[in-house]
């Protein structure tokens, strides 16, 4: 098994995992689970960017996609819950 096969196998594995998590994010009844799943999709995307030799894009995706936007989603979710209660 040479390097390229391993690389492609990892890339396909991450792609399938992020598809599953994206499906969970859309279908799950609990909004908190959806937000977490969306954040993990971003994290997997950043690993994929790293594998494709784009470390600068990976950095942005990890910091903004899975860090900041998840926090902002939770802030908004908290606000909505309080108004509905």
């Amino acid at each position: 098994m040479n390097n390229e096969t391993v690389f492609i196998a990892i890339a396909i594995g991450i792609g399938v995992l992020s598809l599953i998590l994206a499906f969970i994010a859309v279908q799950n009844k609990s909004l908190s689970v959806s937000v977490i799943a969306a954040g993990v999709v971003s994290l997997f995307a950043s690993v994929l960017f790293l594998l494709m030799a784009a470390p600068d894009v990976a950095m942005t995706e990890a910091a903004i996609g899975s860090g900041l936007s998840t926090l902002i989603f939770f802030y908004v979710l908290n606000k909505i819950k309080r108004y509905n209660a």
Partner: protein
């Protein structure tokens, strides 16, 4: 039923469009046109070891100015919509308490994260990353500090001054380029220096440091607004 049918039709349309693009696509085996110019002459003309930075800051510096302006506008719009009344400003955020582990870890990690952010934007011309990435990393440090203490006060005046001064300096350096070098945001107002060292690539490290400070301050400002919106009676 009708809705699902319509969704299916739209998806089929996308498949049709992208399949046509896909079967006619032939990957290029060599760089052509302007890309070849950047790849061949970039190191000599700009002096930056990281070619992406050479393109982002110098060749396409005007676009970077536009991106920063968009980020500034976003922060302003969020600040406008999440503005609190004087009564609400006095209130505090009610939370369930944070764990001791998170508080202790944040005390050790936050300075390291800030330092790494500064490293990323100051070495933008040598290693992957740059102003935007460094600013985002600094903002992640702010996220950690908010998570450890949800009632943490972020000094608004510091953010505003850092943001304004870096924005103005970025444009001033750009204007200096018109008088001292070839045009707006030309990096050759300072010597190009030795290729691959920290003090090289002319004004790029300075410009990218200002970009990093500005991006970090703006994202922290957005976070601060969202944090304040959680205050309740």
């Amino acid at each position: 039923m009708l809705r699902n049918l319509l969704i299916g039709l739209v998806l089929a349309g996308f498949v049709f469009i992208f399949y046509n693009l896909y079967i006619t696509y032939e990957p290029k085996t060599e760089l052509t046109g302007i890309a070849a110019h950047y790849a061949e002459k970039g190191a000599v003309e700009v002096g930056a070891a990281n070619l992406v930075t050479a393109v982002v800051v110098t060749y396409r510096g005007f676009d970077t100015l536009g991106e920063i302006t968009i980020l500034f506008l976003t922060a302003s719009i969020i600040a406008f919509f999440l503005k609190l009344s004087k009564v609400d400003e006095e209130k505090i955020i009610v939370h369930r308490g944070t764990s001791e582990l998170l508080i202790t870890a944040s005390k050790i990690l936050i300075p390291i994260i800030f330092l790494f952010g500064a490293y990323v934007f100051m070495n933008g011309h040598l290693t992957p990353g740059g102003g935007f990435q460094g600013g985002a990393i600094i903002a992640s440090g702010v996220v950690l500090s908010i998570l450890a203490n949800p009632n943490r006060q972020i000094n608004h005046n510091v953010i505003i001054w850092v943001e304004s001064i870096s924005g103005v300096s970025f444009v001033l350096i750009g204007v200096l380029g018109i008088f001292l070098a070839g045009g707006f945001l030309d990096n050759r107002i300072l010597g190009l220096g030795e290729f691959g060292t920290l003090f090289s690539a002319g004004a790029i490290p300075i410009i990218y440091s200002f970009v990093g400070l500005k991006v970090g301050a703006e994202i922290s400002n957005i976070l601060n607004k969202y944090q304040k919106s959680q205050k309740e009676s």
